[in-house]
């Protein structure tokens, strides 16, 4: 089994998980190449968020293999260990640290030692400050750096969370509905930002918004009832009769 995983960044094979008898994920298999960007779509309850929970260690699968980098078994690790391996996650609802300033939010997410005693005596280095400044510029919040994150607009919080994700310097980013609640202009800008990120890192985007998925212009995986229904370009999957049936109903 590990032979097939070789060379892949993320490898899910025959993964199943049920909650109280309900099969949220049903024999799901998915392979992501290094540097690839993938969009995942599917109706409500298709298992998109549960899949992210499995990859990030929040939920343990009942059966199946989840491998990172071809060999690291993610099912044996907890959230913190998986995050430190280089898998970052952005939630559907923007979750930033509301009573910290924008700058502190980035500083907390910045790649570095995560132990309690290391942070107790931590002093911010000039290199770290430069990195924070650069990230704030990328997410266009430089002028809001001292503001409490709670004061940001919804769209700005989404961007701050993307900034925090970048600060972790992950090798794989899992992004759950980044465009939810954004204006059209913000959505377009977010697509540009994500494509920019995808040049150096692997990205998995879960999204409902079809115009946004079209703007990303990447390979699409359609999930339905916990397994893969179709995979290919957006035009190809849109033309797939099974996908049309799931989305439009019988």
């Amino acid at each position: 089994m590990t032979d097939k995983a070789e060379g892949s960044l993320l490898y899910l094979d025959d993964v199943s998980v049920s909650f109280d008898g309900f099969r949220a994920i049903n024999r799901l298999s998915l392979v992501l190449e290094p540097g690839e960007m993938r969009a995942i779509i599917g109706p409500n309850g298709a298992g998109k968020t549960t899949m992210m929970d499995i990859i990030t260690g929040k939920t343990r699968p009942d059966t199946g293999d989840v491998l990172f980098d071809g060999s690291v078994d993610l099912t044996r690790l907890d959230e913190a260990a998986i995050a430190n391996l280089g898998i970052g996650r952005k939630f559907q609802k923007p979750t930033v640290f509301e009573s910290h300033s924008v700058e502190d939010n980035i500083a907390l997410a910045l790649k570095g030692r995560r132990g309690a005693f290391a942070t107790l005596f931590h002093r911010r280095s000039a290199a770290e400050q430069d990195r924070i400044d650069a990230l704030l510029a990328t997410i266009r919040l430089s002028d809001k750096r001292d503001l409490l994150a709670a004061r940001l607009s919804h769209g700005q919080k989404q961007w701050l969370e993307i900034g925090m994700l970048l600060a972790q310097e992950p090798r794989l980013l899992l992004v759950d509905e980044p465009a939810a609640g954004m204006t059209d202009a913000e959505t377009a800008e977010t697509a540009i930002l994500l494509k920019d990120i995808a040049r150096t890192q692997s990205v998995v985007v879960v999204e409902h918004d079809m115009t946004f998925v079209r703007a990303l212009d990447v390979k699409v995986t359609v999930l339905h009832e916990g397994s893969v229904l179709a995979e290919g370009s957006l035009d190809a999957v849109s033309a797939n009769p099974k996908v049309i049936e799931v989305y439009l109903g019988r």
Binding site: R89, H100, A150
Partner: protein, 381 residues
């Protein structure tokens, strides 16, 4: 490295508090020992001891605020750590009585003679030495907190469930310490102390020294707490308080952070208890009463949760009120305390300090910036 780390940690308000506490440590004992009676600046021994007790309560409140205000762990059992520190000190003071007890046994405390015990239980050994007792003041609450925290944080027990088991912890200890065969004096506890490190415990000089020690310990506790809170670790704690799972997904091992602050806080509470016992002259199981731990939470809420100055103000103010009320209108006190908690929860979410900040910012920033300046987001509970 540690000293610069501690000194840098104080903001302007923190420096004022520490300066004030050091001044108290010098001036109040001077007012008691040097200023003649009848002078307006004379401090009576009664007042000195009473205020010294308040200072130990303030240290307890500070320890509660460290976990509740900054990490969102609402402990309803911090009185347990306070009482354990107190018992460790009480055991030392009992051993100092020696043959001067009622039964004049050179080794066994009176209550053991009364129970017909022939020899000292193993856990009483070593308590005749001050250094050993002081070590136990830190180790016993610290190790209990470490064990309790390790078990509960690892299993991800949070919120109300954690509060309930902290309550159960202190209640279990209350029941255990009530039993005579536990070897801690049963419901009478430990009392009739004679001296502490060779000085008679009732002497004015000793009382003044205990007061000064309480004020200085509180100052030290304040400096340590503010160093922790203002470090990056402190920011991680607040992050855990506001969005625990987010903090995990960034890669912080939340249980380690909780365990660190929880254990530190328990040690502070233990030290507070150890300073409390020689000043009030007794330690008994009632200190484990869940109601006592809840009262400490009220002090923090009244003073201002999530501010370091608040718990100090709250502890002193509420206990001052308690002393006055229980003297003047004893039957009203519990209602007053309950009403105070309701009023603070409803109208002063950030306590006295929050109110003060709001008044100050209204003066300096008269126009619209008002809303939200006294109250920060994400601190509803």
């Amino acid at each position: 490295m540690i000293t610069s780390f501690l000194i840098d940690s104080l903001d302007r308000r923190g420096r004022i508090v520490v300066g004030l506490l050091v001044a108290l440590a010098l001036l109040v004992p001077a007012g008691n020992l040097l200023v003649p009676e009848g002078s307006a600046f004379h401090v009576s021994t009664y007042q000195l001891t009473l205020f010294g007790k308040y200072l130990t309560y303030a240290l307890l409140a500070l320890s509660v605020d460290l976990v509740w205000g900054y990490c969102g762990i609402l402990s309803l059992g911090h009185g347990a750590f306070f009482a354990l520190g107190g018992y460790a000190m009480g055991m030392y003071l009992m051993r100092q009585i020696g043959a001067r007890g009622v039964y004049a046994d050179p080794v066994l405390p009176d209550f053991m003679v009364f129970l017909n015990w022939k020899e000292l239980p193993w856990f009483w050994h070593g308590f005749d030495m001050a250094w050993y007792a002081l070590l136990m003041v830190i180790l016993v609450p610290g190790l209990l907190a470490l064990l309790f925290g390790w078990l509960s944080f690892r299993s991800r027990v949070t919120g109300v469930y954690l509060s309930i088991i902290t309550q159960a912890l202190t209640y279990a200890l209350l029941l255990a310490f009530f039993r005579n065969d536990m070897g801690f004096g049963g419901n009478n506890g430990l009392t009739d102390f004679k001296d502490i490190v060779g000085f008679p415990i009732q002497a004015p000089g000793t009382r003044a020294a205990l007061f000064a020690a309480s004020a200085l310990m509180l100052a030290l506790g304040f400096v340590v707490a503010s160093a922790v809170v203002r470090s990056k670790l402190g920011k991680v704690l607040v992050a855990i308080r506001d969005a625990e799972s987010r903090t995990r997904f960034i890669g912080y091992r939340v249980e380690h952070y909780k365990l660190f602050v929880w254990t530190l806080s328990a040690v502070m509470a233990g030290v507070a208890g150890a300073l409390y016992v020689p000043q009030v002259g007794i330690i008994n199981p009632s200190e484990f009463d869940p109601a006592a731990s809840i009262e400490a939470v009220i002090w923090v809420a009244v003073g201002g949760r999530g501010t370091l100055v608040g718990p100090l103000i709250g502890a002193v103010a509420v206990n001052f009120g308690k002393t006055w009320f229980t003297g003047a209108l004893p039957e009203v006190w519990l209602y007053a305390l309950g009403a105070l908690f309701v009023v603070v929860t409803l109208f002063l979410p950030r306590g006295i300090v929050g109110l003060w900040d709001r008044v100050v910012s209204r003066r300096t920033k008269p126009a619209k910036e008002m809303d939200g300046s006294g109250r920060r987001a994400g601190e509803a509970a």
